[in-house]
Amino acid sequence: MSNSSILEDRELMHRLQNGDAEAFDELYKRYSKPLLGYFIRMLNYDKPKAQDALHDLFLKVIEKPHLFDTSKPFRSWIYTIAYNTCKNHYKHNEIVKEAHIEIKHTEDMLDEKFLVGAAAKMDAKDFKQALMGVLNELSADKKTTFILRYQEDRPIAEIADIMECSEGTVKSRIFYTIKILSEKLEIYNPKN
């Protein structure tokens, strides 16, 4: 076991600021895979784009380590950067969406068809696919809140820290997302 593996994130970040390559390797080992998972879900399963986002994120960490907010835990800070990266991506996509409204409308109709057709099967795989379909329709804020809570299993306080909002806002985002999901995924309820 190397010396870096027992150090805390903050200490590793401090070493990285002084150009320690081993500290970088350790931080990358700890966070690259969960962050890739976050990007894959946030960027609608576009894996090459998720890999690019991961590269850009760590590049920011390397090139601007002085921006590390020491009042925050490293995990919250790095997820805040990841969240902001996705938010920019969503903003850009909004512009693209406006130019392709007709195509989007056709896709919506296909999604509905898929959900109704898959209702008969009701297995976990179908439910998962349908869930992802609904998540992809959500805003970046709601989607991030949901992913951090249900995929990354982060506490409400930490999500609020990452998204730089109040705990109440996080709770209300989760509430509305679950409301939307229960409505859209009602067909998967075994009681129906």
Binding site: L16, I40, K47, Q51, L54, Y150, I178
Partner: protein, 119 residues
Amino acid sequence: METKNEFDDLLKRAMQFESGELPEPDPSIQKRLQKKVKKNAINKNKSFFSSIVQFLNIDIKLYHAGIAIAATLLIFLVLRNNNEAPATFKQKVIVADTNVGSSLKNDSFLVKNFSVSIY
């Protein structure tokens, strides 16, 4: 409440990646980033030395030379005066001592004292 927890669990399970679903981060990314870290470290050292070189590489103007000569002269004069001062003082003390010995007033005082001791 139970339904809510069940729904929460269902969502958590559905959100987990299945084996093979989540790819490994591209190894070339780590390599590229490692190079960047090393390059940054070298540049950091370089910038330290270049700042010293920059500091030493000043354009010398005529007035810089003038100020330097004037300052050297001033320092030389101050040091010379400081070295001379104690010597002059010693000389004055020696002269004073000699004067004390040959002073008429003091001689008579010594004689007086001498005579007092005879009585």
